[in-house]
């Protein structure tokens, strides 16, 4: 009885999630009237503009991930190690992008960093790229910070750092060690 109900729920989920994907694939294969073909794909992949935008998206995503890691990992580490009392505040701030709709933040960017402002990021293509990356990083902040912070909690940073400092006084080694371990908890993709 319970099993039937469970399979029913799962089946509904599978149908709901595969049908749109099937529908989309079905459409993409119907470029020629009345028969299936890969024409649409050939056309898209052959289009230099597609290649260009695709490469651009991938590069943006990669830069966002790298920037996010460089920003979040040292901060989370430092807060856990030296400023544990700040943790609730930092956590609150990192959760804000879940509360403030993305479009609102973007609206703020455009008003704050327009061509006539003190930091005219929207004025040049490079500036816009940077702003876009910062925007993505901001949106990913809740997920990234939590993932890293949870990772750090499970490895007990303070103890590891003390252990490493007893051999290398500058704490460099523990930094290396814990960043290795944290890598596996870095799974949040950039929202692109």
């Amino acid at each position: 009885m319970r099993k039937i109900w469970a399979w029913g729920a799962l089946l509904f989920g599978i149908l709901y999630f595969t049908l749109p994907l099937v529908g989309m694939t079905n459409f993409s294969l119907k470029m020629r009237r009345g028969e299936y073909s890969f024409d649409a794909y050939a056309k898209v992949f052959g289009d230099p503009r597609f290649q260009e935008t695709f490469t651009y998206s991938v590069a943006q995503a990669l830069f966002t991930i790298v920037f996010g890691i460089l920003l979040v990992v040292p901060t989370a580490y430092w807060v856990r190690l030296k400023l544990p009392r700040l943790r609730p505040y930092i956590e609150f701030v990192t959760l804000l992008p879940l509360v403030i709709p993305a479009i609102v933040i973007v609206f703020g960017y455009i008003r704050l960093y327009n061509t006539s402002s003190w930091l005219p990021l929207t004025g040049s293509a490079f500036g816009t790229d940077i702003l876009l990356m910062f925007g993505y990083a901001t949106l990913a902040l809740p997920y990234m910070y939590r993932a890293v912070d949870t990772g750090l909690r499970t490895i007990d940073v303070a103890t590891l750092t003390e252990a490493a400092q007893s051999r290398e006084p500058d704490g460099q080694r523990s930094w290396r060690g814990s960043s290795c371990r944290t890598r596996s908890s870095q799974c949040s993709p950039a929202p692109s």
């Binding site: 509904f12 529908g23 400023l83 804000l96 709709p101 609102v104 933040i105 008003r111």
Partner: protein, 306 residues
Amino acid sequence: MTASVTRLLGANGMSTAHTGASPPARRLPLHWLGILPFAVFVTLFLILPTMKIVVGAFQTPDGSFTLDNIQGLFTPSILAAYWISIKISIASALLGCLIGFAVSSAVVFGGLPKWIRGPLLTFSGVASNFAGVPLAFAFLATLGPVGILSVFLRSELGVDLRALGFNLLSFWGLTVTYLFFQIPLMILIITPALDGLKREWREAAEILGATGLQYWRMVAFPILLPSILGTLALLFANAFGAVATAIALTGSSLSIVPILLFAQIRGDVLGNPHLGYALAFGMIVVTGIANAIYIWLRARSERWLK
């Protein structure tokens, strides 16, 4: 604006000083430097843009204080836009919660094969980020006038969705589409919570004479409630801010707040640039209220938590 930002930064600095109070005062600046990059980034790209909007909502174009912008929101068309946005968000959050919970509990408790779990969670991780043009296109290709499901239902079963009043570019259409990322998000968040229900709780309830329903009503559901409320608040904000999907799906034919704001960004459609600030401020207020309700409910539902 600067006053409030300074105050905010000041508060930040104060709590830092407070933290550093116990070690010798000389080491204080060093500790503080550690989070400086993060503080600068968050200030510039999260707090300042938000403050700009909040403050801008109460300013005239020449910078003096006014409540006219806020008053401008209370026109029938903008109120209607807010109302339908809120309705879609509540509907998709509630349905997403319900269906996501059903799927997740089917996998955790339903006695399904173990291997289903991994692919389901991986798929959920991907699908919860699936939005914008591809999502809109997928649903047009499925439930649009010539979508495969619409065509199948019409030709094979004689059910004409359009004749039944279903339209993808409507309240229900948007809700059904939003569910595509709402359900996976619920699954991602609630599955660990369901795993956290100990087998002993169920067995203890059972041996004390409780039926399955009584166990869920008196033990499991109250334990899960904080997680469920949190997910509801998150799903609400998620749907309320979803702009890319809405625009890709409906263009400007459905007047919901994010679309209105997007249009305002592209060009001043409201006739008053500062009405855009008020519109954005209103969105913050709505999600803020949703979160306040969540925090209040949560405080009531988790007295038993450490």
